[in-house]
Amino acid sequence: MSVSDATTALTEELAARDDMIVCEGVNKWFGDFQALDGITAIIKEREVVVVLGPSGSGKSTWIRCINRLEAHQEGRIVVDGVELTNDLRNIEKIRSEVGMVFQQFNLFPHLTVEDNVTLAPIWVRKKPKGEAEELARSLLERVGIPEQAEKYPGQLSGGQQQRVAIARALAMEPRIMLFDEPTSVIKEVLDVMKELALSGMTMMVVTHEMGFAREVADRVIFMEDGQIVETGTPEHFFTDPREERTKLFLSQIL
């Protein structure tokens, strides 16, 4: 099967699924600097999308706009059928459906690992405490660190913290997971992310980790200067990119 055949097949298969994230002409400025310039993209259910691009290209800003950590100024963002506006209820609804894993993990340093994971289920999902604790234990098991539940984040290594951050996001039982440049991607974390992808989670991953993009991604989006430059399957992207800018980027990074 040739690359273009594969792309066509994927496109057809994806077209049949529901839209999870729809962005139409999204513009955003920080002061005079335009961070996002006419971003238009549709991400389907159960799709795993990797966003690549040089630093400062607007990748992080884009995924932070998707759960409204940053507000876009023009265009439309619709997540799972709910449009992002200043309406507080929409934001609450979307945040409880979108899990986010940060570059710096941003764990709560004064809470134990277990409390980090159970906090949101108890207070946002209004789960009974026992149920939330059970959920936390099974999630920590899933990311491979069940024995660290009683520790504080400061006592863990970077990779362990990253996995706690994933468990914390999963505890809200989100339909979409956003990964903002998971920096210390060690094998264990990659395994967890692959397992998530295989389980049918819709994922958007900003990363420099080409291995993950090659192995797991359904689609790769390349960004530069706040614009989407090129989109395609990993095979297409890594072997036969069309755009000059993409080729230049790949030549620098590979």
Binding site: L69, E92, L119, A120, V124, P128, Q155, R168, A169, A171
Partner: protein
């Protein structure tokens, strides 16, 4: 109680996988103990310049300590004034027949302290034997030094007056007389000799690498300087004093005490050996029990004398032991403390600590209110009014509000909850408008309670959850109402309950009461102000900034005068604030401004990522503030907060100026006006300073432990 030494093999094995293993810190190998000579070389005489600094500053310390000792132990001091007025100093004119209440309060604090320390103190922790023995030897040495430094006692005549002499006649011509007139020159020569010595050895390049000669020479010169100062002191006075040898003999008991302490310390030091004295720990409370035990025991056997001032009569029985009304309660207090400490240990051993932590903290917060009641309740309290009006009102608000909270915290309440709360807020606001227009007369207490209810209802949906979460919210509301109604009934008189006034208690009691209630009020206010100042809403920001700047720009004493003298004119006719309440509110408003600035510093230290992470998991602003931001901010601001707590505690001495009989005022004005002790002030002031210092020092120590436990700076 012995902790095993670090095992190097275990440490090596733990570092195989940096991310998988626990990051248990490797146990540091013991640093070798230095001998006294090595310690001196390393710390006091490490270079010629350091040696000189040591010499100059030890002369300075010598002069200060000698001055203080001579002041304290002089024959001219009337310490009897303090002894006689002990009760005055601590409780002012608290009625003798009601005194049990005071002891109940002290007992309650002893019980809570014992339980808390017993529950929280680390097993196997405490003071190492090394530190203990060093402290014992050090105390012995300090006492011995004091014995030598203090000037010999004056020789008194039959009436107890010191004999005087003509200085020039008495010592003229003698060596002492010569030294007296040339003391400055001699000291200057000695200090310069120290300088020359340091420079010479330094030139020789043998200062540190050579033998101990330079340090021995320095030491000899320092001792010579001390000698000069002591002889000069002996020769210069106008009072006839006993000889130095007689003075040393007179202080035989002190020598014995010094020797006993130093001996005990030395025995521990030598008997245990290096490794064991480092790694054997004795709980800090046991050391405290030992010291307190000796003091309490001595009150039964040693003739400290029985002094007092009761119903206008001065009591002075120098030969007898302490009064039964003093030694018996203190013995009971110590026994209570020992018993509850051990109860705490037992509970800790049974792993009841985590379960008991919350109730214990709640008890600590509620105790001041109960004790305040216990101490200040007017014996002629209008019980009928309390039962007919205050109690039903409190119960109504507790029950009604509890129901509202239970309903509003339903997991699926959604928008409806916010709408209901908004209606309640509107009704509460209109109720206040009605109050200003003079419609619907209602007790202010009810209006305030309803406003509180509306505000809490507005926040209730943030705490929605399963049964146990909802019960917590209801319990918090009921507790708030209980405390609030209790306080208003006691402190204020909107409902015509006779309030206890400052006439009932004074002295250190009132100092503590005002300090504790100031802090209980000021802390929540400070947190709210800090949050308002960093809020996104301009109205909150402007108001809070204005408040903080106004209170920081006005002298505390004017705030106090305003609240004790002027504020009552603004209140409705049925309401008056007694002086203590007014002063407490003034202190609280003032401290809140400062606390707010400290907490704001902490808020700024919370990183942006924490806000983002809280938002990303869907926490509301209130939840984010309560669960994520404030805990971290408060932890960071512990050091400045404790500084403010100590400052507030000491500032209560301003109560003396607004006419309340606080600790300082008793020492300054009351004692010095008694017929027996006319004009005797300095002893009382020194004693008062000591007690203030004792409390402030302990707070500072405690905060250091707290910082360590919460790991400030590690994050």
């Amino acid at each position: 109680m012995t902790v095993p030494m670090g095992d190097p093999a275990a440490t090596a094995a733990g570092s195989v996988e940096p991310w998988a293993g626990e990051r248990e810190p490797a146990q540091k190998p013991d640093e070798p103990s230095l001998s006294a000579g090595e310690w001196l070389t390393k710390n006091l005489f490490s270079s010629p310049v350091n040696a000189l600094l040591t010499v100059v500053f030890s002369l300075f310390v010598f002069l200060v300590v000698r001055g203080l000792l001579n002041f304290m132990f002089s024959e001219e001091r009337t310490w009897r004034a303090v002894k006689t007025n002990m009760r005055f100093l601590f409780t002012h004119a608290y009625p003798q027949e009601q005194y049990t209440r005071i002891w109940v309060c002290v007992g309650a604090i002893a019980v809570l302290s014992g339980l808390s320390v017993g529950l929280l103190a680390r097993v196997g922790g405490g003071i190492s034997m090394k530190k203990l023995s060093m402290n014992l030897m050090g105390t012995g040495a300090v006492i011995a030094l004091g014995i030598v430094l203090r000037e010999p006692s004056a020789i008194v005549d039959d009436e107890g007056l010191a004999l005087h002499r003509d200085v020039s006649e008495a010592v003229g011509g003698s060596f002492a007389g010569w030294l007296d007139s040339n003391a400055f020159t001699v000291l200057a020569v000695l200090v310069l000799a120290n300088v020359a010595l340091a420079v010479w050895f330094h030139r020789q390049d043998t200062y540190l690498r050579g033998g101990p000669e330079p340090r021995i020479a320095h030491g000899a010169l320092v001792l010579a300087s001390f000698g000069v100062l002591m002889v000069q002191q002996y020769a210069s006075g106008e009072v006839v004093r006993e000889s130095f040898a007689d003075a040393m003999l007179d202080r035989a008991w002190w020598w014995l005490a010094a020797a006993a302490l130093a001996g005990a310390g030395a025995a521990l030091w030598i008997g245990l050996g290096d490794a064991r004295r480092r790694h054997t720990f004795v709980p800090a409370m046991y050391v405290f029990f030992a010291v307190a035990g000796v003091m309490v025991l001595s009150s039964w056997v040693y003739p400290w004398g029985h002094y007092g001032f009761l119903e206008g009569e001065f009591i002075a029985e120098p030969g007898s032991t302490v009064a039964m009304t003093t030694k018996l309660p203190w013995t009971v207090m110590l026994l209570l403390l020992v018993a509850t400490y051990h109860l705490g240990r037992v509970l800790r051993a049974a792993r009841a600590g985590p379960k008991l932590r919350v109730p214990l903290n709640l008890l600590w917060v509620l105790t001041p209110f109960v004790l305040y009641w216990a101490v200040l309740r007017d014996p002629d309290l209008d019980w009928d009014h309390v039962l007919s009006t205050d109690l039903p009102m409190a119960l109504f608000f507790a029950a009604f509000g509890g129901l509202v909270m239970w309903f509003l915290a339903h997991p699926r309440i959604g928008e409806a909850g916010r709408v209901i709360a908004a209606v309640l807020v509107a009704v509460a606001a209109l109720n206040w408008v009605a109050a200003y227009l003079g419609w619907y007369p209602m007790l202010q207490k009810a209006r305030i309670s309803f406003l509180l209810l509306a505000v809490v209802a507005l926040l209730a949906h943030n705490f929605a959850g399963d049964r146990s979460q909802r019960m917590k919210l209801v319990a918090a509301w009921v507790a708030t109402m209980a405390v609030f109604h209790w306080l208003v009934t006691l402190v204020n008189s909107p409902s015509t309950v006779d309030t206890p006034t400052d006439a009932l208690i004074g002295g250190f009691g009132i100092t503590l009461i005002v300090a504790v209630f100031t802090l209980l009020l000021a802390f929540p206010m400070g947190v709210l102000l800090a949050l308002a100042r960093t809020s996104k809403l301009p109205i909150f920001r402007v108001l809070s900034t204005a408040y903080i700047e106004v209170f920081r720009g006005v002298p505390l004493i004017t705030v106090l005068f305003f609240f004790t003298l002027i504020f009552n004119l603004f209140l409705p006719q049925s309401m008056t604030l007694v002086d203590i309440a007014g002063a407490t509110i003034g202190f609280a408003l003032f401290s809140a401004a400062y606390l707010a600035e400290n907490i704001r510093g902490g808020l700024q230290a919370v990183r942006r990522g924490q806000y983002e992470a809280s938002d990303a998991v869907g926490l509301t602003t209130v939840q984010r503030t309560l669960f994520i931001v404030l805990p971290q901010a408060l932890r960071v601001s512990i050091p400045p907060l404790v500084g403010q707590v100590i400052a507030t505690f000491k500032e209560t001495s301003l109560l003396a100026i607004v006419g309340i009989f606080d600790f300082l005022r008793i020492a300054d004005k009351v004692i010095s006006a008694q017929s027996e002790f006319l004009g005797v002030k300095r002893e009382g002031l020194l004693f008062v300073s000591f007690i203030y210092w004792l409390f402030a020092y302990n707070m500072s120590k405690h905060s250091q432990r707290l910082e360590k436990r919460l790991g400030v700076g590690e994050r």
